[in-house]
Assembly symmetry: D3
Homo-oligomer: 211 residues x 6
């Protein structure tokens, strides 16, 4: 499925395998993992391909791990059985917030894959125990803002990615002072904004899955 947030476009696809990583074998439990990548021309200035450089950069690694961790928060490994779901998130066009768009889209791809598996009776129970969505929030020129686009992102003094469940609890909170360090008050304001943003995304995800 293709997710669009403003100028950001991410292709999210789930692949099901009837096996698990070596360290998981024989446990009766499944696994969910993710790979994030950006096409070289997703940004305005071309980035070198990581396949050509022969290694994956730290940023790519970090985001892939974040997406996998976030989605595992809504999965019951036992109900999944010894199956793996791999989520590919490929950024075709980047305009800020690619990692949170990827998480939000990957959840929909994951839920689709789980339905597909359940139709084929591939898993012993219902592995989906909730939903997950994510937003980026930030302080730009002292104003807290939701869903920063690229030019806002660059100008942000503080940048925060928040991953939440459909029930309003936190899965991951990552706030970074890009410029000046921030105080507790700013942190609280950003969290309020994030909570509202994730609520909205949860509704959109539900609609997408129902159609």
């Amino acid at each position: 499925m293709l997710v669009e947030f403003g100028g950001t476009r991410v292709l999210c696809a789930a692949s099901v395998q009837d096996s698990v990583p070596r360290w998981r074998r024989g446990s009766g439990q499944g696994w969910v993992t993710a790979e994030y990548a950006m096409l070289p021309r997703a940004t305005n200035t071309r980035n070198d391909r990581e396949s050509v450089r022969g290694k994956i950069g730290g940023r790519t690694h970090e985001i892939s791990r974040l997406i996998g961790r976030s989605l595992r928060a809504c999965v019951d490994y036992k109900a999944l059985g010894e199956n793996s779901i791999l989520l590919d998130c490929d950024v075709l066009q980047a305009d800020g917030g690619t990692r949170t768009a990827a998480i939000t889209g990957a959840y929909v791809a994951l839920a689709d894959a789980v339905s597909w598996m359940r139709e084929r009776r591939m898993c012993p129970g219902d592995p989906l125990i909730g939903s997950v969505s994510a937003v980026s929030v930030g302080v730009v020129g002292s104003v807290p803002m939701l869903d920063l686009c690229y030019t806002e992102d660059v100008a942000a003094e503080t940048d925060m990615n928040v991953v939440m469940t459909g029930e309003g609890t936190f899965v991951e909170v990552q706030g970074t002072a890009e410029g000046a360090p921030f105080d507790r008050g700013a942190l609280d304001q950003l969290l309020d904004l994030a909570v509202a943003g994730c609520e909205e995304l949860t509704l959109i995800q539900r609609e997408a899955l129902e159609s």
Copy 2:
């Protein structure tokens, strides 16, 4: 730009740099090169990412080189000046003929990039001395066919990729006996088909560039 041939979808983008590879410096001449890649879920069964495996496979290398070589056939290096054009061809969905679709689409991206450069007076002359398009042809069940889709491709006894200029001359002819070796008669039939196919693509390219 996004090229679609049947079920095959390739994203082609040109990037201009005002520099050339080291071995070309000081020559007053430009360079054109290409990078081809496939998203892991472009095919029905997921392929591992080459960035994750840490090296580029032989097939990817081979196709990147073919695309670069083909497009250089319609470029005047001196008129380009000491600039480089890099063509990224990323396969979003693969259903046979991805390399020939990539060449045909990359030509349009190249021509667009050249127009953009000329508007900015970045090159001393007109670097585009013709056009280039490509088709795949093959013998399936003894019948010569144009534009094989994936299932036909797998079944093909002979598989041939032909790159031609808009004037009807050959830039590259690559024929491979997948099953039984082929004779001169079959080779001639396939070339006839390819000539007709490339003529048609040349018209489509012109329309795309005019609009």
Copy 3:
């Protein structure tokens, strides 16, 4: 310098170079970066060397980036001039909280290096505009706790790393639900604990630098 937090021992060393990365040259500004690594026997079960595997894992990348980003929060690049400081954080023994111990210790190594540079009049101004320390906090069995050791870390439902300045503002907040997602109340409690922990570390850092 060697930092010890409970059973965790990290060797932190700063290296000064009178040059900056390529993208920074000619800016008149400096740069600070970090590399984190673990000896193979720092943990109870031996880990393979990343040099032998030929690539750096995602976790190592992620932590190196976090340390560098955290320390840059207390550095004035212009006052540093076109010099780089590289912080090596090598974990000799790991018992939870290695990344926060590394940040706290690396600050002391950084401050020492800056003193050394200023004695030699290597930088145009005073590059140190504050101090930085970090703690890990978590919820273990519903109880918020400071400075988790390894067994507590594994058992933690929520794990949070907080980097703060000596003035009590936030540089980085990274909270992850390892088990069940957490609510706003738990988040607030953890932040309170972290603030207190960082205050204490700031005092210890000052003493270490004065002696």
Copy 4:
């Protein structure tokens, strides 16, 4: 065995293994593959070792794949049983046409290896269903020529590698316009030359195998 074509010298050796690649296991069928490489001083100007650069170049990959594909055209996988034959083609001295010399020589090494296997009753049937040879042809100064040496190769406007069976059918046709694109007439002339060249090589191969 050592193949010499003019100034080109290629060492071709076949290695037999009683196993097949993973994707082939349990099929009862064998596999044939090839690895091509050039010594650093095979050419007039030294080339860097690919082992030192840590990766195999696109050209090497491409030629290794071509050699393997060509030789598989004369092999019956079922008659070979679950065995592999790996052909090493190492260029000691290069003066044009190294890939076609490698194919022609590798066929002789392959036929020798098959005889050796059959004496030891290692394969269920006769895996050799024909012979394969290859030539390079080209247009130099408008004149079609067989077996280009290095200086001719560089000067060639069109360069074509043709792989044929001993029965005169085509296995692979690869024609590339190095300078100006070529027309159908030139293509036909080059194919005529190649057919004659391969016929001659087939005779030489037979003599080599009989002695």
Copy 5:
């Protein structure tokens, strides 16, 4: 355990695995191997991390192999059973003679590991058939000297590493003329010095193991 020779400090640790390398399986025999590495700031001028460069340098490879080979000289593989012992030697601070310090220290770690295994009845017999120690000797300004520190090492005309058993026989002799080649007389003097040095180290090793 931490070994100190003058300004050189090496952390030596042994890890026991109940498996052996693939080529050793089913032989009923064990294996001993070693990995040597230097922290980036072990020397006065920082060295790049081999994990960051993505490959292990020739010097590191060479020393790891030397340590493994030396220690295997005092091991009975059959008495060890199908177990492996891996010795990690990490140089925290380097001031000459790191490889010989590593061998001497690794022997103590190995002997400790063997005791640990025997207490747990993990090996069929006593795998330790002797002891091993090593010294570096050299000619500095025509004077043969034992245990060169870094400044002496750089100034040495001849540099020799000698590995001996506790019984006074040679396991490895590696002499290199750094400046002028050396004659038989100098070689004999260096060997005499080495014999005396290793005798002393053998006593120290015994004491360390008894305490």
Copy 6:
């Protein structure tokens, strides 16, 4: 040039470059280095290519370094000027003693290259200040022997490589106890044998260079 010692055949070639490694620039001095490699079928059982594995093994590294170091013993860097000589030693067939054959042959290639440079007045003086040759000696079944072939090498209790100048002094002595450790008497006997062997090789080298 091709060196043959019994069943061992090594191709040695020298390449001259009018530049030096980065750390040597501006010193007015030259450099000599070597690269050793083995063709996959040089041995009876095929070895994987190091270019395919993507990294150079420890043994290859070690031997390349030994060859370079040995040859530098007969070179005056100042007389060479800021030029480099790279010696490629490629083993076509291996039957024991490949590293010593490589050193002995590489010396002849080096002397040839120096003559070639001096004819072209490329270096300020005569960079060749002596000659270098090498032999392998060993104890097989208690009998000291010169020039072990592969089967003897495998059976050797002690294996020693000795590099000497044409004037009879030592450049490198590397003795390893493969089985039981050796005593001083055995060491002396092996050195006597090596001295005699190197004398003979020095004569053969002179003849080769005069013809």
